[in-house]
Symmetry: C2
Subunit: 920 residues, 2 copies
């Protein structure tokens, strides 16, 4: 039996279905599904991903494939009533890639397959539009020569530019049929000239070439890198979708557009879309012509007619399809459609990308509508984007004031949510430069292009004069979470004069402006940026019942907590941070760094006295002074976290961090302390380390100077006893840092337990507490079984563990880590063919190396305590990875008890912890 | 059936034997064995180690034990014809510990058990020596109150000192019977006063107390630490030897002594020993009286009569016993004997400690005598001490000249071999101070004590006025490998005047002196110190046939090579080092650091040009200049190591190491390079790293600047091709440093292979080579399976691997590592009850942590290549651990292919590798 390699779809019947994504790719499976649903899809067929794998092995198309292609092609011809290569009414095809998961822009597409010197004339006759026919032919020539034959696209683009200059016109649309006819001849000449072979006139040869090109595009570098960075297997392969062409550019009863079944920006349940009359799909995305809205659901571009108004029948069909598809897929859909001579064709449907605001609204709405359950809702929220909910907004009163003062400049599209204020800057390099100097900027461009990414990523906000909701600026800004207003057509941007004119206003580069990505408004001058709505609720400035956003957010969080098994704690050193984190849902402190308490006020003075002391006695005298401060600190933080556990890490940094390193500051401190500057300098020199990261710090301090540990333990237990006596429930967990051997922990535990007993005896009151350790030295992880018998809990300090496991100093690694994680291949050094690392390991926990140590230590540590009949080892993570979704998932999979992260990442961790359950 | 807890020995019969060490301890098993051999051993019995374990569990002696003790005691009484506690002729006992392996000085001993206020009088009468009896009683009181009752020994010693002052005498021996009688009364009073309980007068109670004290001494801190540091299990327990006392201090027909069946200093097959007439054993070891030689085998102390001369019968017996024991144990024995009223008793025999010189001589002699096989010979050489064979000696001609010039001062005992010259220094603290300032010193003391260790360890040599071959100075110096002359009785050392008088010579502290630890001679002024005999042979200055030492050394090395399975390579960066290492037996270079080639001459200039270059082009220009130098370097080193593999490590250190950091030097370099000092300073600042150890170095350089790797690869392959063309066989192995991910190696391998192909094509000649990597980053070890598929070999860089696994910066860790590895408990910070680490992990490979990574990487790496059908992974180690015996054993056990170490450690590694086979 031969393998079936080609799956047909068309006319309400399809051999494939949505669940066959692995075989047919996402696009092919969805085209089949839509066809079966009765949605009008141009007929065509999908060549399977398995055929791609065959192709990669053979280096050629497998035998029998083209026979299958030809028979499917005939079915399409029958449905469309036209023939491929026909000299009177030729049928044209598109050939597109389509992998199991979307790899946007990564692989290639060829349209208008089937046109040649003869069929172009036939198309001209049949369509009655010679300009359209020659325009289509030149598009084929450009794409085919680029994608299939490997000609530099610049060569053909240049010819078009020259022709436009010659004609004195600015836009492609202003070129005539004769221009295009001439250009096709020029294109063919340049192909022959540069490549030494002609453009193939045979439609069949074109089709074979295009199919092969799509298969080959699976292995172009950018596709490989994309896969590597997105954990897509090289073995999956891409499908090829061969679909009969429909045209939105055959005249004014034609159109092409994109639509979202709900608003992708804020998630409102409205039908939202944009289209262009007499245009092809790429024209919409390119953002050169400002598109028209499909309806009046939002009052954008009110002077342009809507699809509903000019093609009510097609709009009606589209509206019905919207409902059909959303009900079918049970999620907001991103649709592509073309209207050819008044007939609506659907080219694509897929789950639409959305902002975090819209994701939350859509998910909660769909649950309310009974379309999805709460688990599905939680699964659909992009955890990493949650912090955008807490992003600043423009102050409403300040906006009204600006309006009143005549400083409201214009209104564009609300392309990416959030308020931003800063200096107007007109080019991306300058944006980066100014930001590096500490300025905040709003990058303002006529339109943006991929080269602008650098500047876009550092800007507070992005403002463009051209382009719709799906323009480059809008898409990228939403992806980055940068507020954006796009298509503000009133802006007259002059890159040469470095000015922007808006009506009567003239702005110079460097002037202050503000944009509101929620409503598209643009202001001149200073407009206050203020905390997000949710933060206002959390801080009590706004009532929960007055904030729909807060309620929906809280709903998602509640559902997440019902699903997740991981605990979520926070890293907090002050009562304030602890309070914020509790509001965000933290159920304990996983890391309270005590060294932050050593700075500030008189404390630092005593810390320095301790460091300068020549002997234990001198250190003890200084530490006695510090005791009162530390006890107060612990009363504050244990009190703020009443009823919840608080992991307190003993002193960690090397002592020289508490002394000034510059001569000037040394003199100041010397004066303050009544010693000569030379004394300070000598101590700093004596404490100098070549690699402080690997030096005299952590428990190494507490072992060589046990009086430091004594003081800290005393402060903790005295605070705990006092609070307990006052009726506050406290759960202190004393954490020893930088353990590398069990013996270190044994020593520090002895000090802690001895002092605890002393304090309890003195005070006549006992308090439960735990003693555990941070696992941040590889050796501690490797010898976890021994360490665990001394530790009631482990907390992985994955920042340091990453530093030591990779041998990367976080302070220094920037230089090569940038190269190691660079995704842009043009920036790579010679010989590099893929990034060395998929991610910065300080951002996303490295599962292979660091994660191996975490898993090993968790398992061996738990086992050792179990075998020794000791209490179960509590295990958490307190590195910054604790608030990063992929790392949280890893912690869940590894069986940790909790993650701990900075207060603002607590909601991310809660959601990610729930998704980890759902995904596994 | 009850367990037998007590094993009898005496009168030619013994229940135990030498093979029962686990049950009876080393001492007990040997006493039994000697007894069975017919050697005269004072009868007694051994309580088993198992009883110790019972005692630890019960906290008391097990039931039935004392009944067994009593019945054995009766057997002893029968043999000796005396009764324990008898009021006319009392039998006394010693009670000593004796574990499975020797733990010298670790546990406790009580002598003269059975004396009390009555029996002391009986002993006085029976022995006819009242002074002896009261001296014995006071010794019992001192030991018993200290060891069993816990009285501070200082309290009783102080009373003796006071009495001596009162009497105006210096030595204990000068005190009279009345003095001792008074002192016993004082001792009893102080015991009662301080401890609140009296010294037990009941002999039975004394015996029980002493047995318990020995069992308890198993768990005193210093014993625990000793076990921990020597890998002795806490479960083994100690045996207790209860033995009837014999006395060497009953008059002038009594003596006590120690003897070695061969010379422990140089191994000559002579009977060598020392004794004191009318003395107890501890008097010999204390070194207060200069002992007499047992015979004239060496011409020491010719003015004192020998044992052979004054007690020829006892000496004759001893000589026969020497032969009997050496033939039986087939090794040089260390004997303790006592002659009581002309009757010889053997108290102990054990394998004697020896210098490396004597170890080599004894082992090769015993093989020649057919007493042991070559494997046993190899097993007996202390590998760690081999480098002492290469230690300097005094120039023979210079010695003769000094003699002629009247600068030969005196002659003491040749207590520890080696020649030393330096400044005379009279106290150990000053010795440390002067050495810290760059001086060489000869520490000169009347006698040494444990507090002097610090100064002894840094001295070139040690000279004492008092004490024999077994005095503190002699034992410690031999242990440390420091040359020592002891017991040079002519020296008149004045600590106050800081002078030393020797006959007519007056030396002041700071004057130059020299000592010869081979013959005991002491010289004034400068005497040349020159290379050891073996080095003279290796360097061709002396013929092999003229050096017996060399021949014996070579014999041991040859036997070692026959046994070992590990390869031994060397770490060498220059043709000279490579040549030396070949002479020492290295069979390849395991680490050739190329950065050392970047310094010196014009090279550093081009290196700096490269660093200062702003772009790749500039770097390439500078690298082109370096290429010629590097090619020559590789021709040199590959040539020197012809026929053997050479592992060349690519550039490793961060670039700032090649630039000057001081302003002054920056100005110089700037002038040299024709740039402003500011340029240099800016570059240094730009390259500054907080933790250079974890910074931009190793392959991170070669990846961000592939042109560096290109240049180095080109130099290697051009050199290899040129040598090959010249008929030299070369085996270059290119090693990429600091790999943390497989992708890094992939990149560097691509560069190396690309350049190799280029060079081979250009030159029309191919050379075989390997590409592999250093495993020194924990992550590389953790992900070894992936890394191995890209690597033909692994070489563990255990220096860096130790740094990163422990999180210790080698440059900075001194401060806390000193505390972590401190063995002297008086130096410990509070709460510490054992050293944190048994060894400095940079000296002895940490098997538990670092070793785990090495083993994991070796196994996973080999398996991955096997599964992938690739060549077998070659695995070696090139950290400094490669020349340390315990680490070499680990490498053998882990299945590595080779170790690589510095040239002078190559013989150590060869021997250790053989011993690893023999021990496992």
């Amino acid at each position: 039996m031969t393998t079936k390699r080609v799956y047909f779809f068309g006319n309400g019947e399809a051999e494939g279905r949505a669940s066959m994504k692995n075989l047919l790719g996402g696009k092919g499976a969805n085209l089949a599904e839509m066809t079966s649903l009765g949605v009008p899809v141009p007929p065509g067929f999908t060549i399977t991903t398995e055929t791609c794998t065959e192709f990669q092995k053979l280096g050629d198309l497998p035998e029998g494939l083209m026979a299958e292609v030809t028979s499917n092609l005939k079915r399409v011809e029958e449905i469309r009533g036209k023939q491929f290569g026909d000299l009177t009414n030729p049928l044209l095809f598109s050939v597109r890639s389509g992998a199991r998961v979307s790899m946007p822009g990564m692989m290639d597409t060829v349209l208008n397959i089937g046109l040649n010197d003869q069929t172009v004339e036939a198309l001209a006759t049949a369509s009655g539009d010679a300009r359209f026919a020659w325009d289509s032919y030149r598009r084929l020539l450009q794409m085919y020569s680029d994608v299939v034959m490997g000609l530099d696209r610049q060569l053909t683009e240049k010819l078009i530019e020259e022709r436009k200059e010659e004609r004195g016109v600015a836009l492609d649309t202003e070129l005539s049929v004769d221009d295009w006819r001439d250009l096709t001849a020029q294109f063919k000449a340049v192909i022959l000239d540069v490549l030494g072979k002609p453009f193939p006139q045979d439609p069949q040869e074109q089709l074979v070439g295009a199919i092969k090109a799509v298969f080959e595009s699976w292995n172009i570098p950018r596709a490989k890198i994309y896969r590597r960075n997105n954990n897509i297997s090289d073995d999956w392969g891409t499908a090829v979708n061969v679909q009969s062409m429909v045209f939105g550019n055959l005249g004014n009863n034609c159109a092409t557009g994109v639509a979202f079944t709900r608003d992708p920006s804020d998630g409102t349940n409205i039908f939202f879309g944009e289209f262009l009359v007499n245009a092809q799909g790429e024209d919409v995305v390119a953002g050169i012509r400002t598109p028209q809205a499909i309806n009046r659901s939002k009052d954008e571009n009110p002077d342009l007619p809507t699809l509903e108004e000019i093609m009510p029948e097609a709009y009606g069909e589209l509206l019905a399809i919207r409902e059909k598809l959303e009900n079918h897929y049970k999620d907001m859909q991103d649709l592509e459609f073309t209207i050819e001579n008044g007939v609506l064709w659907m080219l694509q449907t897929r789950n639409g990308k959305r902002t975090i605001f819209s994701a939350i609204r859509i998910a909660t709405d769909l649950v309310a509508q009974g379309m999805i359950d709460t688990r599905t809702a939680v699964a659909r929220i992009p955890a990493n984007e949650l912090p955008k909910l807490f992003a600043p907004v423009l102050n409403g009163d300040a906006k009204i004031q600006a309006e009143t003062d005549g400083l409201s400049l214009t209104r564009g599209l609300a392309a990416s949510p959030g308020g931003a204020a800063g200096r107007l800057v007109l080019d991306p390099d300058k944006a980066q430069e100014w930001v590096a100097n500490g300025d905040k900027v709003v990058l303002t461009r006529i339109e943006t292009s991929p080269e602008d990414i650098g500047g876009m990523s550092v800007a507070e906000g992005i403002l463009t004069a051209r382009g719709g909701m799906t323009s480059h600026a809008a898409v990228v800004a939403r992806g980055m979470g940068v507020p954006c207003v796009s298509g503000a057509g009133d802006l007259r941007i002059d890159y040469t004069a470095r000015t922007v004119k808006v009506g009567a206003h003239l702005l110079h580069e460097g002037d202050l402006i503000a944009i509101d990505g929620f409503d598209g408004r643009v202001y001149k001058g200073e407009v206050e940026v203020m905390p997000s709505e949710i933060l206002q609720v959390l801080s009590g400035k706004l009532k929960a019942e007055d904030s729909e956003l807060y309620q929906r957010y809280e709903q998602i969080m509640t559902w997440s907590d019902e699903i997740k098994s991981l605990g979520v704690r926070t890293n907090a050193d002050t009562p304030h941070d602890a309070t914020v984190a509790r509001q965000f849902g933290a159920t304990g402190i996983g890391l309270c760094r005590t060294e932050h308490m050593f700075f500030g006020g008189d404390r630092i003075l005593h810390v320095r006295e301790m460091i300068l002391a020549d002997d234990e006695q001198g250190r003890r005298a200084a530490l006695a002074q510090l005791l009162d401060f530390q006890r107060e600190d612990f009363i504050g933080i244990l009190g703020a976290m009443h009823d919840l556990p608080v992991t307190i890490r003993l002193l960690d940094p090397p002592l020289h961090e508490f002394l000034p390193h510059e001569a000037e500051n040394q003199a100041e401190v010397a004066a303050e302390m009544g010693v000569s500057p030379e004394v300070i300098k000598q101590k700093v020199d004596a404490l100098h380390e070549f690699n402080p990261m690997l030096g005299h710090r952590g428990c190494r301090l507490g072992i060589s100077m046990p009086e430091i540990t004594e003081m800290q333990a005393r402060a903790i237990f005295e605070a705990a006893v006092q609070l307990t006596r006052d009726g506050v429930k406290v759960f202190p967990e004393v954490m020893v840092p930088l353990i590398g051997t069990a013996a270190e922990l044994t020593h520090q535990k002895t000090v802690i337990n001895t002092i605890a007993e002393q304090v309890f005896a003195e005070q006549g009151l006992r308090v439960d507490y735990l003693v555990g350790t941070m696992i941040e030295v590889p050796r501690a992880a490797l010898t976890a079984a021994a360490v665990a018998t001394e530790a009631q809990f482990f907390s992985f300090g994955t920042n340091d563990l990453t530093q030591m496991t990779f041998g990367y100093s976080r302070d220094d690694a920037g230089k090569f880590l940038k190269i190691y994680t660079e995704k842009d291949s043009t920036q790579w050094p010679k010989y590099l063919t893929a990034p060395i690392l998929p991610n910065d390991p300080f951002e996303v926990l490295d599962r292979e190396g660091v994660g191996q140590l975490v898993a090993m230590a968790t398992q061996n540590g738990r086992k050792a305590r179990e075998e020794a009949g000791l209490s179960r080892l509590k295990v958490g993570i307190c590195g910054e990875h604790g608030g990063e979704p992929s790392s949280v998932e890893f912690c869940h999979l590894t069986g940790l008890d909790y993650v701990s992260c900075s207060p603002y990442r607590v909601p991310v961790a809660r959601l990610a912890a729930a998704q980890a359950v759902l995904n596994n």
